[in-house]
Symmetry: C2
Subunit: 209 residues, 2 copies
């Protein structure tokens, strides 16, 4: 029974059999992508050839998906055309928005409750964003309310909107932050936030993956 796996950000359709052995991969973009980059830069195959050190024929075959370039060739392409390597196989507009702008009024975000935080997700109308913004009301008062470190991929920016919080992190001493204070950290490091004010504190979080 063949199964289709689709990855999130760098999509590639993969067909696997019942033993989870990859049988075929539907090559999606690299040829079209390269052609688009080259034509948008107003380059001919000849010029691209000079810039990359690759043969005109090779470029043509890659663009027409007749061959799968080696990593070494991909590096030459990226360097020669002055682009980042992932551009060769990533759809340029990651943000596939319903619109291209999304306003969230105070209190109008999407609620997401946990025992320790009350999250209000922002800009939820836009998918495939590079950042995930949300406001959180902090219920927690101590590490024990969590039981263990929070830890995930990406980087995180946090700004205190109301009240006073304490940021606990795996490799640092705790810090107290009040309204207007903010912090940027690597989210793979254990971290969590507790309120030290009478009322629950309110913070803004912006996260990447």
């Amino acid at each position: 029974m063949a199964e289709i796996i689709k990855t999130d950000i760098y999509p590639s359709m993969v067909v696997s059999d019942e033993k989870n052995k990859v049988k075929a991969i539907e090559q999606i973009t690299i040829g079209k992508q390269l052609k688009e980059i080259r034509t948008k830069s107003k380059l001919t195959l000849e010029e691209a050839s000079k810039l990359t050190g690759l043969a005109r024929s090779t470029l043509s075959k890659i663009e027409n998906e007749q061959i799968s370039p080696t990593f070494a060739v991909m590096q030459k392409l990226a360097a020669g055309l002055s682009i980042e390597l992932p551009q060769l196989f990533t759809k340029p507009n990651a943000m596939q928005a319903t619109g291209r702008r999304d306003v969230t009024r105070t209190g109008q975000g999407m609620e997401h409750l946990t025992s320790t935080y009350e999250h209000e997700l922002l800009a939820t109308q836009l998918s495939n964003k590079k950042m995930m913004p949300y406001k959180s009301r902090v219920h927690a008062r101590s590490f024990d309310d969590f039981g263990e470190w929070v830890r995930h991929q990406g980087e995180e920016f946090m700004l205190v909107l109301e009240g006073e919080i304490q940021l606990l992190t795996e490799f640092y001493e705790p810090v107290n932050l009040t309204q207007g204070d903010n912090v940027y950290y690597d989210a793979t490091m254990g971290h969590l936030v507790v309120s030290v004010s009478e009322e629950d504190a309110l913070i803004l979080w912006v996260t990447t993956d």
Copy 2:
């Protein structure tokens, strides 16, 4: 005269001659990277072979940099090992931080003044971040204070901290936003912010590249 070019995020050492023709590329990571991913996942070559559908020998040769895998093979690796493709050639920690956490107290950011905005850059101790956070005091009162649209790569998140602003964008009607309101938009679309309150408004911006 050979020249060394070093790209920023996806480093690759490229040796070019005086005609800008790429002569050689110093392969950096793909082998080591794969080996690290596999060993960290506690997989043997045999197991990785089953997952990816690639021969044990092929995996070994890639890990020892004896061959340069084709893009098709790289896709199989990513799919089989459940990773995103760029992980194969990107140093995992893009954020090369002085530390791995950076607190900015209210008013302690780095000043950057323009005629229309007064920016306070945050978390400036960390380099190579994925996000650029800053607070801005908005002096501008109309489009004419700018003369033209602001427009740049990436996505932008904006939250109003104090006062009331109007967000002007190329493809939408202006919107007024007050404290707590926020917006997420594609920064390649022309955009700018003016204050509509008596005093200058204060906003938070978080930007990606």
